[in-house]
Symmetry: C2
Subunit: 502 residues, 2 copies
């Protein structure tokens, strides 16, 4: 097998992961690759965790600030969190160990729009980036880098970091070469120009990442897969949610507000998203496109069957079976998939121009259409807002989906007042549960409340919500957004006290 | 004086306002001109109010849906609200009579981002627009229209409405001719192209509005000024807020994160905004630019003294003295001011590209940086979100300003939990009161809370906020965003009960 490192200067910097990790100092801000469990460095963070553990055993303080694309994997967030090696983290996480420490107050976590991380770094709002640790799929003879399964913020980390550690992962499909589109036309205001992308499949950049070789302090060879689980088959709840959305799209087509090929789809990660995609395929939709963050197994299936004409994303987040399928039909997928920096995949300008149909999961919605995407009972973070805000604010439709209840009915996902607001009443156009779909477009708060309660609430909670809303309409001081302040958060208080909102 | 109506077909449709108003039927959706009290129709709404009053006296139902650019004036919102002639209103209002009826639950009001109204209408989300009632400053021989003091959503109403009533107001400055830039390049997705604007002063369209003459059912001649009050001289509180912001900008320039000419400024309406502009002028800033919604007296002053090189907006909202000054130096102002449709002045793509510095007032912020721009104690609407979200989400900086207390100290504008969220923790970068400035960039929720309490809270409320935060950090289930759910809204509950948060 041909080496993945084809440049002599980079070969000369090959070293064991432990030696590379030793270049990371306490207090450093480290920009790492990784987006939704793909393309994260597999070796250096583990070795770094060992060094940190050793330092702590000797009574030394050792923690770093970790910036990524999005979520990573146990080998990165999990390993570093477990040894107390992270004291600040952004912009997204989903690791159980890391989450637990954030919610115990041990790690500071900043939860920001994935599409804004790169510009925040360029603006200087995140301080200096001392080190980049980036997985790539190969190094070309001229020193350019073949990106891995995710692009994320890698361009920004490579450009801004004072020093760079590369992990070259020979386990990543060689067929990735040429699939990426790295746009080097971004700038700081007032030098910014229009981004010349007008369709999801447009290529506006180049297939490779650039890095100043003088900044590369270590190259580490790895051969390990992204650690991604399988998806469960869609359950009945997901299928019903998907059914409501598909019916809604048909209705919009019938009324001339959508074309049969819809508009570019953005869908969050998980079973409901996969069910929606499956529902579109089974419903006979054709010629669809996606302008989204992540391509999962479900989307591969749609590309294979030509339901999905083209898909743009920043990460390829596939199960082991998905990777096999991807490798088998690589030529077909290469012609239909474009992987971009998340700054571009989630860019406000492009999401607005393309008119994306945003479909994202949530924790809860309140009767007025405010959506909580991140917090349990207002205080414990789950993952983060991710790209949902990038797409919901600027897209054509902002659909939020959830089962109407959670924890066997102990939680209603429709509540009087959201315990944390990530998407405001001004941004949410469609709410869907397995009970039904509330179309909030053009409605006032009270009109929205009636729709959300009638269409989306679980029958066990619907009478309670109706009662709250009716009393609020009578007793609230202000009747634009009627609330009973004494009761507005009482469902969450009850849940915290007793484990149930009932 | 030459007639303002130079087209024979339009002259033939001149009629009294009462005859024009008679063409508006119950239940119609009417798109009207008007933005921040300027450029609204002066005659037809008043006559319509009389017709509605008559119908009600006869026991007939008569109300309409009113869509505008933003706020209007007593002659429109006030008159129609007073007779119960509005049953649905969007996207913004500030009229006392209208507000009172909304908060009594008599009128449904939808409060949406000003930059999204036009596309929502084009998408079909607001239903059919039955009638447009638009004030213009004149009609050209070829039937094109000279826009008035505000552009707002007029292009969209004229394009989409089934029928059109024009008010030609000969009191508006003739010098407005040529000052506008109406962009006719917008489209529905998937046909959208990049908007070719790269600097605040760029002209990308044409100076006139188009209308299909066949749709024009009435032309009404008026001669009346926009009814705009004077601004109070900046008070000490506003001056101190402005001082903190100017100091912050200097700090950012010193650290290389801003250029001496800053980035295009967006500032809300009112005394604090004027004080900030005055502070920049007095602080020796030069070569500034504005990409904003409204040009007020304070901005004229900066343009006159060349502190402000260029200003883009959708409305010219001037006091009588401001209008005099504008007329006196019209040639200078014409070279520095561009008036655009609000779809463009507030466009996500452009706000992001230009990197606007957004400075907007608010009702309250909570310790974690969530901002309430619209509601008193969570239930009564004040005005609306306006363009604050368009700019805060997509700009370079999202600054929110307020005095630290209101109603002689009965209200703290920094609270444990916002009673309504219009701008989330993910979007707010700077909070300023007369007490100081909290720079929230790159901070976790708890880090933000410490900054907001220490820098922005009034000394009378600071110990209470410290106490809440400390106890929340100890007792909250989740310690990412610590809250005591039983107490989170207690300050608002106390205010509703006793008239004071103390």
């Amino acid at each position: 097998m041909k080496s993945r490192i084809q440049n002599a200067s980079f070969i000369s910097k090959v070293m064991p992961a432990s030696a590379a990790a030793a270049q990371i100092q306490p207090g450093m801000t480290v920009g790492m690759s990784g987006f939704t469990g793909s393309g994260y460095p597999k070796a250096v963070p583990l070795e770094l965790a060992r060094l940190i553990e050793g330092a702590h055993a000797r009574g030394e303080r050792f923690a770093i600030r970790v910036l990524t694309g999005a979520s990573t994997a146990p080998e990165l967030d999990g390993a570093l969190a477990k040894v107390g090696g992270i004291d600040f983290r952004l912009p997204y996480q989903s690791d159980p160990e890391l989450r637990a420490r954030i919610n115990r107050g041990e790690i500071e976590y900043m939860d920001i729009h994935l599409g804004q991380v790169a510009q925040y770094a360029w603006f200087g709002f995140l301080g200096n980036i001392d080190m980049a640790v980036v997985e790539v799929a190969g190094v070309l003879p001229d020193g350019r880098l073949i990106p891995s399964t995710s692009v994320g913020n890698n361009k920004t980390w490579l450009d801004l970091a004072s020093r760079v550690i590369l992990e070259v992962n020979s386990n990543q499909p060689a067929g990735l070469d040429g699939m990426h589109d790295i746009y080097y036309g971004t700038a700081l205001p007032p030098e910014r120009k229009p981004i010349p992308l007008v369709a999801p499949g447009d290529r506006i950049g180049e297939p490779y990442l650039r890095v100043d070789p003088a900044k590369v302090v270590a190259v580490v060879e790895t051969h390990a897969p992204d650690r991604l689980g399988r998806f469960a088959a869609p359950d009945e709840i997901s299928a019903r949610i998907a059914g409501h959305l598909v019916e809604f799209f048909r209705h919009e087509i019938a009324h001339g507000r959508l074309r049969p090929e819809l508009l570019p789809l953005q869908s969050g990660v998980g079973n409901i998203a996969n069910a929606v995609l499956g529902g579109l395929r089974d419903g006979g939709f054709e010629g669809l496109s996606a302008f989204t963050e992540v391509i999962q197994d479900g989307m591969l299936d749609l590309i294979r069957t030509d339901t999905l004409r083209v898909a743009s994303a920043t990460a390829l987040s596939l199960s082991p079976e998905g990777v096999d399928e991807f490798q088998r039909n690589i030529a077909h997928y290469r012609s239909r998939i474009v992987l971009r920096p998340q700054e571009i995949s989630n860019h406000a300008e492009l999401v607005r121009r393309l008119g994306c149909i945003a479909i994202n999961g949530m924790v809860e919605a309140d009767i007025y259409g405010n959506v909580n995407s991140t917090h349990v009972a207002g205080t414990s973070i789950i993952n983060g807002i991710g790209g949902s805000g990038d797409f919901a604010r600027n897209g054509f439709l902002a659909c939020f989906v959830t089962p109407s209840i959670a924890k066997n009915g102990a939680i209603s996902c429709i509540v009087p007042m959201a315990s944390h607001v990530d998407h405001t009443e001004h941004d949410v156009t469609v709410i869907v549960t397995e009970q039904g779909l509330a179309d909030l477009r053009g409605l006032s708060p009270k009109q929205r409340a009636r729709a959300v309660i009638a269409q989306c609430a679980h029958p066990d909670y619907r009478p309670l919500l109706e009662d709250y809303f009716e009393r609020a309409c009578r007793e609230s001081v202000g009747k634009h957004t009627p609330h009973l302040l004494d009761e507005a958060l009482s469902w969450h208080q009850r849940f915290v006290r007793s484990g149930s909102m009932r």
